[in-house]
């Protein structure tokens, strides 16, 4: 076999393994988060204060992890959906449905706890499958397909709860949102566990490759034998599962199912977390750890506002500003312009 006519530059392939790109993609969200933490270290008293009471860790940082866990859970499913060049707007509504199902079942005498959890998650996955069917099989545009459930979902939740706010005080169910395990709140363990499960599911099997390939070039993926419809169906179903878990946490937090407010606007936070994490809305490469960092960034920002007594009405403005900065930092165009600017300054 004759060699290529062009001479190959010295191979440096061994230094270009995925791991390195994986970390470099993490650079910007982590930098944003670090900046925020440094700001708080200087200007927000007690931000880094931690103490152990009754074998449980307390402090602002723990609160951030705890409260951020819902968006973290949603972001995992959302990252996969966005990687297929889709979006799932229904996750907030699915959270409400999940909460409603759990609250209704737990209050029924004689329903074993595992059945409650199983049924709740089952319903959430079913909701995800509905989205998946619309997008994967009927080729409805994702934004439209999931908008249907986003609008209708809260109505479904109302139907389940008969329009009431259903309270419960089952110790096992309230543990999910309020309990602690080895010093840390249970929701933190739950979201970390889901991160691990998602990483293994996508990176130890070929699922991740197929998702990225379908998101990057669906035609070419189909021609290579990948069933794009199936891949899409799966990611929406998975996003439903994540929303179900987040819904359980949300309901358990307040010990009731509030169909109107559970998970309200959280779909937007989840999308934002994924984008901050480096996954492009046009599909392709996805970054799970990045999405988690993105979710933490959003939660840290919210907590900072709260601790600095920014009124809840004004809080979205500085939040939007901070997010804008992170997103601009991520834009390749903006980065090029900035490096160009510094280079010119150094030259002159």
């Amino acid at each position: 076999m004759s060699t290529a006519a062009t001479t190959t530059p010295a191979p440096s392939g061994r230094f270009q393994k995925r791991e390195i790109r994986w970390w470099s993609s993490l650079l910007w969200p982590v930098a944003g988060l670090a900046l925020l933490l440094i700001f708080n270290a200087f200007f927000t008293p007690n931000f880094f204060h931690l103490e152990v009471r009754d074998g449980r860790l307390y402090g602002v940082l723990v609160d951030i992890l705890n409260h951020g866990s819902k968006v973290m859970l949603l972001a995992l499913g959302m990252a996969l959906v966005i990687a297929t060049a889709g979006v799932d707007l229904s996750v907030g509504a699915v959270m409400a449905i999940a909460g409603a199902v759990a609250a209704q079942l737990i209050n029924k005498a004689g329903v074993p706890f595992p059945v409650v959890i199983g049924a709740t998650l089952g319903v959430a996955v079913l909701a995800g499958c509905w989205n998946g069917l619309l997008v994967g099989l009927f080729k409805v545009q994702p934004i439209v397909a999931t908008l249907i459930l986003m609008v209708a979902g809260r109505g479904v939740a109302q139907l389940i709860t008969d329009g009431q706010i259903i309270t419960f005080d089952d110790a096992r169910l309230t543990y999910i949102g309020n309990g602690s395990f080895v010093g840390l709140p249970f929701p933190v363990w739950l979201s970390m566990g889901m991160l691990a499960v998602t990483v293994v599911l996508t990176r130890k099997t070929a699922v991740g490759l197929f998702i990225e390939s379908v998101g990057d070039n669906q035609t070419a993926s189909t021609y290579s034998g990948i069933r794009a419809g199936q891949v899409k169906f799966l990611v929406y179903a998975f996003s439903g599962l994540c929303a179900g878990l987040a819904g359980l946490v949300a309901a358990s937090n307040i010990k009731c199912a509030d169909s109107n407010h559970a998970g309200l606007f959280l779909e937007l936070d989840a999308i934002l977390a994924v984008v901050i994490g480096g996954t492009s809305l046009t599909g392709g490469r996805f970054f799970l750890v990045g999405s988690i960092v993105g979710a933490l960034f959003i939660q840290t920002l919210t907590t900072t506002m709260y601790m600095r007594n920014v009124s809840a009405d004004v809080a979205p403005v500085p939040k939007a500003l901070a997010i804008l900065i992170v997103c601009v930092l991520q834009s390749p165009t903006a980065r090029k312009k900035m490096t160009g600017f510094f280079r010119r300054r150094n030259a002159s």
């Binding site: 290529a4 062009t6 390939s213 070039n217 070419a220 490469r285």
Partner: protein, 507 residues
């Protein structure tokens, strides 16, 4: 510094690097007024990069670019246009859903009080086309025009901004012979008007038909500038690929193919397979280890036949047999499991996964066939990928490079590797050498031949008759989306194929 009084564009010592690749190094390039200058080189030689630097897509790392004696530094295609450098790209860069007039005037529509003056726009567009001796209804939608007309509309648009230098990047790759002649007429006219014209093309015939001067690049470096009339064709090829052609193309004449057309067991059989609006019912047989050529003009149904065979489109009439057993593929996945493989004509949109690495692109089809659960281990992946990078001579700094950063020829090799990794029994190659340099072309064709010898059946689709004639054992000729003939043995000549295409219709 030499000062050529007629020089319109002078580039000296141009350099541009990308991570891991020196795309251009110390390149000089001069275009004079009233000349057609061909920019030649293999894929990866740096032609595209040169043009992109010139048109402001990339900033340059070093070097001087002068237009009419003044140094320029375009920062975007728009600023290059303002300076008088206009480009018409390989893929026609227009908006098919808009009218011809809108396409010509897009971005600089005549307006009054912020409203478009449609009449003035139409007149303006007509005037722009008239400069090319072209008269057409400028209000019709662009997509209704033939590719050739679209190409000319693109040129009209480029010239409309008082261009001094016109760059044509592969302008003829989707045109037929008459259309090419039309285009050349226009180029000659513009040359007479004193425009400097840079043309990038892979067709040697066309270079000699139109170019006054030739600049050859290789591996991002300047090989030389020559007067076309004084550079024999052989020398040009040698300079482009840096080795003798005879080394690349095996001098395999008719003997081996013709003498022994062995009796082959059929592998794939079409029995009156067809699809409405796609291709008329036809019979077709591909033997085991046979290279079957599929010839015909653009739009004659070659790609449609491939899509039918590969399960992309469903067969509506007739029946397909694989290994003598009836088979009806509902998806490419099923075809792949039957041992089929398909490299599509349009590499960029249907072939590569641009933002994934070479490694991921290569293992994709094999992994898809094995299913989600049986992940190919990273170690196996690396073995497969290293093997094919070596065997196919894929030129890259490493397997983790994104495929989008490779040249066309290397992308095609990656696609071939993707399929060879599945050890296919039938390889459908749709225009495998389109837009690829001479060297890579020869390598790919050699590979096709050796695969045939290994017992892989090949359906070979190419619009270059010479290739079809040279490598096919049998040739099926298509015209107007129907099979019109089948040639074997000594009938397989370029003339024979053209006769079959041109023969009066039987029905």
């Amino acid at each position: 510094m030499e000062n050529d009084s007629k020089a319109l564009l002078e580039i000296r010592g141009l350099a541009k690097s990308f991570p891991g690749v020196k795309a251009l190094q110390g390149v000089d390039f001069t275009v004079r007024r009233g000349e057609v200058h061909a920019l030649m080189g293999e894929n990866g030689a740096g032609k595209s990069t040169l043009i992109k630097v010139l048109t402001g897509v990339y900033p340059r790392d070093a070097g001087i670019v002068r237009l009419e004696g003044t140094e320029i530094r375009p920062t975007s295609p728009k600023s290059a246009e303002a300076l008088g450098i206009s480009t018409v790209y390989q893929e026609v860069n227009l908006i098919p859903q808009l009218s011809v007039a809108e396409n010509i005037c897009l971005g600089r529509q005549p307006t009054r009080l912020g409203l478009i003056r449609w009449g003035a726009m139409a007149r303006h567009a007509e005037a722009a086309l008239a400069r090319l001796d072209l008269k057409l209804d400028v209000k019709q939608q662009l997509s209704a025009c033939s590719i050739a007309i679209q190409q000319m509309v693109a040129i009209a648009r480029a010239l409309d901004v008082s261009a001094k230098l016109l760059i044509l990047d592969e302008p003829t790759s989707s045109l037929d012979e008459n259309e090419v002649e039309e285009l050349f007429k226009i180029i000659r006219k513009l040359r007479a008007e004193g425009l400097g014209i840079v043309i990038v093309t892979h067709f040697l015939d066309q270079v000699y038909a139109i170019a006054d001067r030739i600049t050859v690049l290789r591996d991002g470096q300047l090989v030389g500038e020559y007067e076309a009339a004084k550079l024999p064709r052989m020398d040009l090829v040698t300079r482009m690929i840096g080795k003798e052609l005879s080394q690349l193309a095996p001098k395999q004449t008719t003997e081996s193919v013709e003498a022994s057309a062995p009796k082959r067991e059929p592998f794939v059989e079409f029995r009156q397979c067809g699809r409405t609006g796609s291709i008329a019912p036809m019979d077709l047989t591909i033997g085991k280890g046979e290279i079957l050529g599929l010839a015909g003009l653009l739009g004659s149904g070659r790609t449609e036949t491939a899509r039918l065979m590969f399960g992309i489109d469903k067969i509506q009439t007739g029946e397909m047999f694989v290994d003598g057993k009836s088979a009806a593929f509902k998806s490419p996945g099923e075809a792949i499991r039957a041992g089929f493989a398909f490299t599509p004509e349009n590499r960029k949109s249907d072939g590569i996964i641009p933002h994934l690495s070479i490694r991921e692109n290569i293992v994709l089809a094999l992994q898809a066939r094995q299913g989600v659960a049986k992940a190919i281990s990273r170690k196996q992946q690396d073995e497969i990928v290293d093997k094919f990078i070596k065997v196919l001579g894929i030129s890259t700094p490493g397997p983790e490079q994104l495929v989008m950063n490779l040249s066309g020829g290397n992308q095609q090799k990656v696609l071939l590797a993707r399929w060879l990794a599945t050890q296919p029994r039938l390889l459908i190659l749709d225009e495998p050498t389109r837009g690829i340099d001479v060297g890579a072309k020869a390598e790919i064709l050699k590979l096709v031949q050796s695969l045939g010898k290994d017992g892989v059946s090949i359906l070979f689709i190419s619009s270059e008759l010479e290739e079809v004639v040279r490598y096919s054992e049998r040739v099926v000729v298509l015209r107007d989306r129907a099979k019109v003939g089948e040639l074997t043995g000594s009938q397989i000549t370029e003339e024979g194929i053209m006769h079959t295409i041109a023969a009066p219709q039987s029905k």
